[in-house]
């Protein structure tokens, strides 16, 4: 990362959960002060609990969704506090990585 780029470091959290759990994720994001998130429904893939079909024509609840949220690093631990017990009992994927944004005020 080149500092001359003028970007600000943030944390990107990507979560794959069942469509059933998207409402809870939205609550969690709001609780930790996330100003927005991106949701991609009907994602597919192979994981610990087998293959998950992504293209369910008439069932949004049982297909998987990928949610991406960007947070200031100091709030990430709180979000993880909420996500860990969720993923302890249900299928899902959690990825956390550093990211850089050009307009940090949008994510505060």
């Amino acid at each position: 990362m080149d500092e001359s780029w003028g970007l600000t470091r943030m944390t990107r959290v990507e979560v794959v959960v069942a469509g059933d759990d998207v409402a809870l994720l939205a609550e969690l994001f709001a609780e930790v002060g996330a100003t927005g998130f991106t949701a991609v429904s009907n994602v597919s893939g192979l994981g610990h609990s087998g293959y998950h079909q992504g293209r369910l024509l008439f069932n949004d609840r049982n297909a998987l969704a990928l949610l991406t949220v960007v947070l200031p690093p100091e709030r990430t631990a709180a979000l993880l506090d909420g996500l860990r017990p969720l993923l302890a009992g249900r299928s899902g994927v959690l990825l956390v990585s550093d990211t850089w944004v050009s307009r940090p005020q949008y994510f505060q």
Partner: protein, 848 residues
């Protein structure tokens, strides 16, 4: 605690609440009643384990009671051979498990109780009951608009603003206690954490504590779960969220426990026990619920079973009986489906697509018997998840299964040239609505009811007598008056054209999906009928439970009209032909709606038909009427109290009767979901017990259509089946009780009498005939005719199907093609040849 730690604690709490809420089911508002598996969010556990969990937290029974099996055994509805087969079957299936998480693996644990329930039990207080009473009171007030909403706040904020002036809170908790309630934190998360700490509930104990808190009133909590997890964010009306609900509830619990410890006399026994799961026999009978079972005398069983069954744990015995009961039905159904169906005698003049609803099976069977009709089964929203706005109405309806969100808005509008009558109708409807509003306002005023009674009693008395003694005539009179005031007008339902609404491509995609999924991609008849369904009943808060589940608990006629309009469009047919589906120019698609209370079928949009089709449609109407009369005759024999020489008139009278508690049986006795071409079931009397979904694997090489059928219509069918199952098995908890004492609260639900919890599930009258169960509680049997490899591939890539089939929530039978033998799928994905238990020569019927 630092700010970051506090934030983390609040985030963990949200997840804990979500986990706790898995033990209760969402409860939809009355206007769109949705039959749901009450244990749906425990489906990750095998069926028996989920029942063990629910027993622990909800205090429920999960298997049918012994008297039901005793009666079934006496009626040869389950035989000794069925029981032996079930014993063998359970031995083979034992040891499978698929669940994990908070609720898995502690089936032997003791009953879950809240802190205050344990205190009540030890010290004779009634804290939990008092909390129930207060929370129910405030929920009703909030949703009814009596409790003023606070800007930016929900239920908790509204309650917090008023509790400081609540005399009941002062009476129970004293002035200081009431002040403490009002001073709970401004945010519900913080209030819950504070209260849990005051109650001494540690982090590890939170989920069971919160689960039991929710389970005490599964109606209000279920409504809050629906609002938090299922309702659209912009759903109108005051939002009652789980977080707010629990904050209020735990506020009372913590405060009253403190009072009880300090001054035991203040929190005494509540005047009535509001919790249903703990009610004794007297309370059950008050609700009209049949008394709990007595031990089953097995003296009539053969020696081998008498020797074997008593040695098993009680729950294992119940499982064996349930397995035998289900196996008995399965054997007769599969045997009936093995017989070759009669070849169609002539090319069909009409192809008719009906909803998969079990009630459509009867109409299809009778229609096929009166003429050259080919029928299909498909989910009644016809693959069109739409938000429908009836003409002249401010409210829109979501016409799709609740598993999906509508992705297009479709409006009804007057036909070209119908503007004069449309204007008159609108004016008339506005006048009727204004009159109704004035009447409702006068009824609810402080003094106006007295004036209203004086002024209108002269008319209302004779009207009430007419309504009671000759309900059908009254209904005709009302409709006549309605037509005079607001004359009918020709309308069209348009999904989109000329660049407005759904694009041609979108419409063609939906059409292709619908036709391919039901296996109707060629050989179109001159008329293609799309028939939705609805139910016309009077004075029935649960009316929407009789409408179409695939249309989100609404009538299905509008979906049929929208789909027909799409399939009649030249642009759509051109796009379909490019995809290999050629609908001839001479084929017209017509919409209709089957009224399942009267068995009359209304054919819509006659004004859109070309003259060349008039004779065919007239003949179709006549045959639909004949089929409806035949179905009415069949249904009258099953409806208690229905009599008279004219079955059609008998069912019509029930439909119009405002005092009728059972206008129809709805989906009671549903038992199977059959995915196959109609050839497999044609000519078999399935007694309106089977969901029938047409399917042709020949046009579905990748299994996409099969996947759609199993992950959507079958899931909806399973919800319906499980709703009926659990409501019959434990009506005290899972049914809405006796509907004669229902009162509607805030338009969203019913309570028994004057207050308490919202009632969940179906009324008793939808399940029982007096004290005998009419519904036969058994898990759904899905029967699929498709290549086994394709079926297994679909199951393997869909966790929800693995949960349902491997967890034995749904049984699965299949065969590759019509000449094959049936196989049964075992948990884990092994298949065994179907071997029926020895048939008793005294009985054999698919009617059950």
């Amino acid at each position: 605690m630092s700010g970051a730690d506090a934030l983390g604690a609040r985030a963990r709490l949200l997840t804990q609440i979500d986990e706790a809420a898995r033990v209760i089911a969402p409860l939809w508002p009355l206007s769109t009643f949705i039959a749901v598996n009450p244990l749906w969010d425990l489906r990750q556990l095998p069926f028996d384990d989920a029942i063990a969990c629910a027993t622990r937290v909800l205090g429920v029974r999960g298997h049918p009671p012994a008297p039901l099996f005793a009666a079934a055994y006496a009626d040869r509805r389950v035989t000794a051979a069925d029981l032996r087969a079930a014993i063998d079957d359970r031995s083979a299936a034992r040891g499978y498990g698929c669940g994990r998480g908070q609720w898995a693996g502690d089936g032997g644990a003791a009953r879950t109780l809240t802190v205050t329930e344990r205190h009540d039990s030890s010290f004779g207080t009634a804290i939990a009951a008092a909390t129930d009473r207060e929370v129910a009171k405030w929920c009703a007030a909030y949703l009814g608009g009596v409790l003023p909403a606070q800007p930016g706040g929900g239920f908790y904020a509204a309650w917090r603003a008023i509790v400081a002036r609540d005399p009941a809170a002062r009476r129970m908790a004293g002035r200081a206690g009431r002040d403490r309630l009002a001073r709970l934190g401004s945010q519900p998360e913080g209030a819950i954490i504070t209260c849990l700490e005051r109650l001494g509930v540690g982090e590890e104990e939170r989920v069971p504590e919160l689960a039991r808190q929710l389970a005490r009133m599964p109606g209000w909590a279920g409504h809050a779960k629906w609002r938090s997890r299922w309702a659209a964010p912009d759903h109108p009306g005051p939002p009652l969220h789980l977080l707010d609900y629990l904050a209020v509830r735990l506020g009372y619990e913590a405060e009253l426990l403190g009072v009880a410890v300090a001054r035991p006399s203040r929190v005494g026994r509540a005047p009535r026990a509001p919790r249903r799961g703990r009610w004794g026999r007297g309370r059950r009978q008050e609700r009209g619920v049949p008394p709990r079972s007595e031990p089953f005398d097995i003296a009539s069983l053969p020696d081998d079973l008498r020797g074997h069954l008593p040695g098993l744990p009680a729950t294992e015995v119940a499982r064996v009986w349930l397995g035998g009961y289900e196996g008995h039905y399965r054997d007769r159904l599969l045997a009936a489906l093995e017989r070759p169906s009669p070849a169609p005698s002539a090319r069909p003049s009409v192809q008719a697509v009906f909803c998969i609803d079990v009630r459509s099976e009867g109409l299809r069977r009778h229609l096929e018997a009166v003429g050259p009709y080919e029928t299909f089964g498909f989910a009644g929203f016809f693959a069109l998840p739409i938000r429908y706005r009836p003409w002249g109405s401010a409210d829109a309806l979501d016409l799709c299964p609740v598993l999906v969100r509508p992705n297009a808005e479709v409006a009804e509008r007057p036909s070209p040239g119908a503007a004069p009558t449309a204007g008159r109708q609108l004016t008339g409807r506005q006048a009727l609505a204004a009159a109704q509003g004035a009447l409702d306002g006068a009824r609810k005023g402080a003094l106006s009811p007295f004036i209203l009674a004086e002024a209108a009693g002269f008319f209302a008395g004779p009207l009430a007598v007419t309504k009671t003694l000759v309900p059908a005539r009254y209904l005709r009179l009302r409709r006549w008056a309605g037509r005079r005031l607001a004359p009918p007008t020709a309308t069209v339902v348009d999904a989109g054209s000329a660049g407005v609404g759904m694009s041609d491509e979108e419409q063609a995609l939906f059409a292709e999906t619908a036709l391919t999924t039901m296996g109707l991609t060629g050989n179109f008849a001159p008329v293609l009928l799309l028939c939705g369904h609805g139910s016309t009943t009077e004075n029935n808060p649960h009316a929407s439970s009789l409408d179409c589940g695939a249309c989100g608990g609404n009538r299905g006629g509008a979906s049929a009209r929208a789909a027909a309009a799409i399939l009649n469009r030249v642009a759509v047919r051109r796009l379909l032909s490019e995809r290999g589906i050629l609908i001839p120019d001479g084929t017209v698609v017509v919409a209709a709606e089957h009224d399942t209370a009267t068995d009359r079928v209304t054919v819509f949009d006659a004004h859109l038909l070309a003259p060349a089709h008039h004779d065919r449609i007239a003949a179709l109407r006549r045959d639909l009427e004949r089929a409806g009369v035949a179905l009415a005759a069949e249904r009258v024999s099953r409806l208690p109290g229905a009599r008279g020489p004219d079955p059609a008139a008998a069912v019509a009278a029930r439909s119009a009767d405002w005092a009728q508690v059972r206008p129809e049986w709805g989906l009671a006795r549903n038992a199977a979901f059959i995915v196959a071409p109609r050839d497999v079931t044609a000519g078999v009397d399935l007694a309106c017990r089977s969901f029938l979904h047409s399917y042709d694997p020949g046009v579905d090489p990748d299994g996409i259509a099969l996947e759609t059928i199993l992950t959507a219509p079958m899931v909806v069918a399973h919800w319906i089946n499980a709703q009926y199952y659990f409501a019959t098995v434990d009506p005290e908890v899972f049914s809405a009780g006796d509907k004669t004492v229902h009162n509607i609260v805030a338009g969203i639900g019913v309570v028994q009498g004057t207050g308490g919890d919202l009632q969940v599930g179906l009324p008793l009258q939808s399940l029982f005939d007096a004290d005998q169960a009419y519904h036969e509680p058994m898990r759904l049997l899905t029967v699929v005719q498709a290549p086994q490899a394709l079926l297994e591939a679909v199951i393997a890539r869909n966790p929800v199907l693995r949960e349902l089939f491997d967890g034995q929530w749904v049984h699965l039978a299949g065969r590759d093609h019509a000449d094959d033998r049936w196989k049964i799928r075992r948990p884990g994905g092994t298949w065994t040849w179907w071997t029926p238990a020895a048939t008793d020569p005294k009985e054999a019927s698919t009617r059950g």
